[in-house]
């Protein structure tokens, strides 16, 4: 129930256009409208978008993506511009002026020099900067590759190496560091080089498959039909075969190129994007996008083809009061014009990996995955969880969705086998992230930031913003909870979802990692954080547990959506246990499956989960099973477990004894002695205390207990024990008091007898 609330409800509310989709672009876009602009150039090495005018070049950072990004500008001299790329250290600007020369500026000194082709017969197809140790910049020419290094003394480029090849056209992406050079009549023969920081790797020459429309015709492969994509750190090449209407996938290895199957296409114009390692195949004519998660062998799409959605702010503003960026937006008074809103317009260019440039309107969109919609569209829970666990971009949201789904699936009492598979997915993913170190990294940085206050990273009057927002947000949270009982209900059970909803509302752009957060973002982060904590206070009040507080801290630090066993306990089992009605044996079955997965991955489980298991079993009076769980160490011994056994054992003596034994075996002598006394085994407790030198239990405790039993013999025995074994006991007040009491007791008995 709560899971549904989080996964579907906010989506519906936020999808302003009301359409169903799995991928969206978020309004507002980045506007790159500079008067006198001569076009837009994307520099994927530095993730910059350049817009040159006659004497300047304006550049916008696209990572992190923000529509508020201000351009930086550099002076350049006038002239034709075929392409612009900044050097990777951003010290130089390189502008291709013609097919024969490239001009360079030193940004600080303004010095300039040019590099020309040596012969007129060859022409420059393009160039790119590289972090390869051998050279700094590579020219791609019709006659092959030229590798140049910058010489800081001569302040000129000098040729390091040349590779002679016939090149018709080329494709390069900086994220793959791979350049593919097409040659041949049909341009389907490829030479590839990877210029990584490790050096230059030459790939074996290979041919791409192309179907022939007729026997004698030979279609020519165009540069637009080839895409290099990077997914899960693997490099693929995607080739559009227009005749066969197929998308061929090639995977690159150091020494081989392997075709990995084909995907069907439904449009003559195809483009691909990669968002968070998910391959998006835009069927431009059909105006739909199909998602593929090329992780396993399966080449089935994640979901049905659905349109790309433009998320519109205005409609949302009218439907719910929101702060955050609202004021900024309204001041800009931007409206999405009709042509701006044209999805898959003719002027759209898809940039690597996840940007769309609308050249006509001079705007840049960033493509987002709607994880909620994707997870809501599939009933195959374990595979959805696997998908979510692989997400790296919207880690927080993926994690929240996973937790919500885990809760839902248990509350809906789905078949145990299915939930077991889901648990296995989560545990395996966590174990994997531990091994890869990504989870611990997140935790470590979380610990470095002990409170939300430290998040105030923005240099500008952060306290001010915080204070002013508190009020607004408090109100908005209240408004929301009043508006829908569902969300209020959910807020009560988990603060995760609170922050989830809020985060959606504030249009916070997703972050790749904490270091990327720049000033613009950090201001919004403060907002988001305050929002979370304030609404938490609002809804939870004093019941806000430390665990919840941790959540808001963790949010910005997560690097993996993996869910630790502690979090499984805190955000899945505990809330589910509170909400679940009826027979708890189903939940026990789920916990057993969870332990099963955790055990096979050798992951330690939070002792509180064991405590919960004991409570559930004891509630059903299934003491026999409880005994088996303890004896077989399914519930690993710990002090918490022992104390819960003693507590649950009030109704069942065997269970209580298991608890006592566990205390003894854990060498928790102090507690063991206390419980022995509590159960009335004074002498045993004393003997044990003496044997294991437990000095922490006060003698008066024994004496009081013995006195309370109203048995003078017991009191005498205890008193005697202390007199014999504790030197100087006879002089203490305890001794005197109880000696007197003992005398009174025995005299009264004596008096009674006679």
């Amino acid at each position: 129930m709560s899971g549904k609330a989080s996964s579907s409800q906010p989506t519906v509310r936020l999808s302003g256009s009301g359409g169903l989709s799995h991928v969206y672009i978020q309004y507002p876009p980045l506007r790159c409208n500079i008067s006198g602009s001569r076009g837009l150039f994307y520099d994927d090495g530095n993730k910059l978008l350049h817009s040159p005018t006659s004497d300047r070049v304006f550049s916008w950072k696209t990572v992190p993506f923000s529509s508020l990004a201000d351009p930086i500008s550099d002076l350049i001299s006038e002239g034709p511009i075929l392409s612009i790329r900044y050097s990777l250290d951003e010290k130089f600007i390189a502008v291709q002026r013609s097919n024969h020369d490239i001009q360079f500026w030193h940004r600080e000194t303004g010095e300039t020099f040019s590099q020309r082709c040596r012969s007129e017969s060859e022409s420059i197809l393009g160039f790119f900067w590289t972090d390869c140790p051998l050279c700094d910049i590579v020219f791609v020419k019709t006659s092959g590759l030229d590798f140049f290094a910058y010489n800081s003394e001569s302040k000129l480029l000098h040729l390091v190496e040349t590779r002679k090849l016939n090149v018709s056209w080329y494709v390069y992406t900086h994220e793959s560091r791979l350049v593919l050079l097409a040659s041949g009549m049909q341009c389907k023969t490829f030479n590839g080089f990877q210029l990584s920081s490790m050096g230059i790797i030459r790939l074996p020459r290979f041919e791409m498959a192309m179907a022939k429309p007729e026997a004698d015709s030979k279609p020519v492969l165009a540069a637009e039909d080839i895409f290099i994509i990077t997914v899960y750190g693997r490099i693929y090449c995607v080739q559009v075969d227009r005749v066969a209407m197929l998308l061929h996938l090639y995977r690159f290895y150091r020494d081989a190129v392997v075709q990995q199957g084909s995907l069907p296409i439904y449009s003559s114009r195809i483009s691909v994007s990669v968002v968070d390692n998910v391959l998006l195949v835009h069927q431009v004519d059909a105006k739909v996008v199909i998602l593929y998660d090329i992780f396993a062998d399966s080449q089935a799409p994640i979901s049905a083809p659905l349109p790309l959605l433009l998320r519109d702010l205005r409609r949302y503003n009218s439907s719910a009061s929101q702060s955050g960026r609202e004021d900024c937006e309204s001041s800009e008074a931007n409206i999405v014009s009709e042509n701006e809103a044209t999805i898959y317009g003719d002027d759209w260019t898809f940039l690597v990996p996840d940007l769309i440039c609308d050249a006509a309107n001079k705007i840049l969109w960033k493509i987002h995955l709607d994880l909620e919609a994707i997870s809501a569209s599939s009933s195959e829970m374990p595979s959805v969880l696997e998908f979510l666990q692989r997400r790296k971009l919207e880690v927080k949201k993926a994690k929240q969705l996973c937790l919500a789904m885990a809760r839902t699936v248990i509350l809906e009492r789905r078949p145990v086998a299915m939930v077991a598979r889901a648990m296995d997915v989560l545990v395996t993913s966590y174990s994997h992230s531990i091994k890869m170190g990504s989870y611990l990294k997140g935790i470590k940085s979380e610990k470095a930031l002990p409170s939300t206050a430290t998040y105030v990273g923005s240099p500008s009057s952060a306290a001010d913003t915080t204070a002013s927002r508190m009020g607004v947000l408090g109100r908005s949270a209240k408004h929301e909870s009043a508006a829908s009982a569902d969300s209020e209900h959910f807020n009560r059970t988990s603060t995760f979802s609170t922050s989830d909803t809020e985060e959606n509302a504030s249009f916070e752009p997703p972050k790749t990692n904490p270091s990327d957060i720049q000033s613009v973002d950090s201001r919004m982060d403060v907002g988001a954080n305050v929002q979370t904590s304030s609404s938490q206070h609002h809804l939870l009040g004093a019941s806000n547990t430390p665990l919840d507080a941790n959540v808001s801290e963790q949010q910005e630090e997560l690097t993996s959506p993996a869910i630790a066993p502690d979090e499984m306990y805190g955000f899945v089992f505990t809330p589910v246990e509170e909400e679940m009605v009826g027979d708890p044996s189903y939940l026990v079955a789920i916990i057993v499956e969870f332990l099963h997965s955790a055990n096979s991955e050798k992951i330690k489980v939070h002792p509180n989960l064991y405590v919960l298991t004991i409570q559930l079993l004891a509630r059903n009076e299934r003491y026999t099973e409880l005994g088996l769980f303890v004896i077989n160490k399914i519930l690993e011994p710990s002090k918490e477990v022992a104390l819960q056994l003693l507590e649950s054992g009030r109704q069942n003596i065997q269970t209580r004894k298991l608890g006592l034994d566990m205390l003894r075996q854990l060498s928790l002598h102090h507690d063991y002695v206390l419980f022995l006394v509590q159960d009335g085994y004074y002498l045993e407790a004393l003997r044990y205390a003496r044997k294991y030198k437990v000095n922490t239990v006060r003698p008066s405790l024994f004496l009081e207990a013995a006195y309370a039993s109203n048995d003078s013999q017991r009191l005498a025995a205890v008193l005697r024990f202390f007199s014999d074994f504790i030197p100087g006991f006879q002089n203490t007040s305890d001794h005197n008091t109880y000696y007197r009491i003992l005398n009174e007791m025995s005299s009264s008995i004596a008096g009674h007898c006679f």
Binding site: V416, S585, E593, H596, N599, E625, L658, Y682, E684
Partner: protein
């Protein structure tokens, strides 16, 4: 069982069940007798045994109304008393034998208790059956075959021989557990949960055995003991494959066929197999009762699909009840279907409530289908895991020792494996008990919870019985 001696004398053991509330009038004394072994003793002898017992019970009740007489130690006999139900007594008379050591009286009482518990599980209480037919024919018709089926395991010719502690070490009323690793235990629990879900919404219990050892149970302790006892007697792979009960297996040299022959000799061959009624003692002797004989030997077999089948229950021709085995749970007083599945060494017992919309056959076949569909893979895995961790029949042997450990709290016991018990000579056995005390902790950590508590306020006195014998 730790019974201390085997008896060789004729008529060494007598066993009777009688009801103090019946036959109070002179001339109706025979009414009291519900069961007597050996049945061919003259009534006068039977009555004199019961008369003595009754007299002692009445006398001792004056001093101890709650717990009357437990034992009479006569010069040549010991009379062991057990009040199975209010005013229904079971008395066992064993002959003392000069050359042999003393009987362990508690162990004999536990035999009586065990057979009564089993009776309760299959037929309900004796009193209830008496109330159903006050004449007593019904209860006698039930008791006799039931008791005889039980005793048949100990019958040699006409003689009833209880195994001595030299033959085997066993404590009635306890279960023997398999030591499992955490990994296997989780796997087992996962299977248990899966089985639970097989019966749909109705509460269903399960019991899992590996060989003759208990692995898991979701039943209450008392029902666990009963069902475990029954499973070891009649259901485990060993009893099914060899056709002999565990007792006979333990007693070397004895074969099932001779025992069966002994039984048929002892009783008139004319008595029909399924319909047993006492010829003389029952006033309504001409009635024929449909009596289910769950302890009857060699009636369980493994079907092709892995489920254990029997014709014991289907014998009730023409009756409305189904052929599916049923038992009474003592804890919840519910009538349940019994459904057993066997895979290699793994025996799996499912207990499904009778009170259900579906009729028995449908429900049970549905459950069976569910089990086969959902759990077979898991069972395979569990069996594999358990077999891997299982050290074989002599896994729990402690070389140089024979031992019997009982954890009274949890009704768990462990003893030297049967194959190793008999390797001691008589002298060695009799001479010494070398250790008494909590030796266990070292051997089986956490397997037995031994309270070392003997103090002034101790409410439970020494509740662990252990005997360690040193081999020389």
């Amino acid at each position: 069982m730790g019974l201390s001696s085997a008896s060789t004398a004729t008529e060494a053991i007598k066993l009777c069940i009688f009801d103090l509330r019946r036959g109070q009038q002179e001339g109706q004394e025979l009414d009291k007798i519900l069961f007597f072994f050996p049945a061919d003793l003259p009534f006068s002898t039977q009555l004199s045994v019961i008369g003595l017992s009754e007299g002692l019970i009445t006398f001792t009740r004056i001093f101890s109304p709650e717990a009357a007489c437990e034992l009479i130690e006569a010069e040549r006999h010991s009379h062991v008393f057990y009040e199975a139900e209010p005013d229904i007594w079971m008395v066992m008379i064993v002959e003392k034998n000069e050359s042999e050591a003393i009987w362990r009286i508690a162990a004999l009482q536990k035999v009586l208790k065990e057979v009564h518990s089993l009776f309760l599980m299959f037929h309900g209480s004796i009193r209830a059956l008496l109330e159903k037919e006050p004449a007593g024919g019904l209860i006698r018709a039930h008791l006799h075959p039931f008791m005889m089926d039980y005793l048949r395991d100990f019958l040699f010719g006409k003689k009833l021989l209880l195994p001595s502690f030299r033959d085997c070490l066993k404590e009635c009323g306890t279960v023997q557990m398999l030591n499992v690793s955490r990994e296997a235990a989780i796997e087992v629990q996962s299977l248990v949960r899966l089985l639970e879900s097989c019966a749909g919404s109705s509460p269903c219990y399960s019991l899992i055995l590996f060989q003759d050892l208990l692995v898991s149970t979701t039943l209450s302790p008392v029902d666990t003991i009963n069902l475990f006892t029954y499973a070891v007697l009649r259901l485990t792979p060993r009893t099914i494959s060899s056709g002999v009960s565990s007792w006979s297996y333990l007693r070397k040299g004895s074969t099932g066929s001779s025992v069966t022959a002994g039984y048929t000799l002892a009783h008139s061959a004319s008595v029909p197999d399924q319909y047993y009624c006492l010829p003389d003692t029952s006033p309504s002797g001409d009635n024929n009762y449909h009596v289910v004989r769950p302890l009857k030997r060699d009636r369980w077999s493994k079907a092709k699909d892995g489920f254990l089948v029997t014709d014991i229950w289907s014998a009730e021709a023409g009756s409305s009840t189904s052929a599916t085995p049923t038992i009474w749970l003592q804890q919840t007083e519910e009538r349940m279907y019994l459904c057993a599945y066997q895979f290699r060494s793994l025996t799996l017992i499912l207990v499904v409530p009778v009170a259900s919309i579906l009729n028995g056959e449908q429900l049970v076949s549905l459950v069976k289908q569910q089990v086969l569909e959902n759990a077979s893979l898991k069972m395979l895995k569990v069996e594999e895991k358990l077999s891997k961790g299982w050290g074989g029949e002599n896994a729990y042997h402690v070389s140089g020792y024979r031992y019997l450990l009982v954890d009274v709290d949890r009704n768990v016991s462990r003893a030297s494996p049967p194959g190793k018990v008999t390797t001691l000579t008589k002298d060695q056995v009799l001479r010494t008990v070398i250790v008494k005390g909590p030796k266990v902790g070292r051997l089986f950590p956490l397997q037995f919870s031994i309270p070392k508590v003997v103090s002034l306020a101790c409410t439970t006195t020494a509740n662990v019985n252990e005997v360690w014998h040193k081999k020389f």
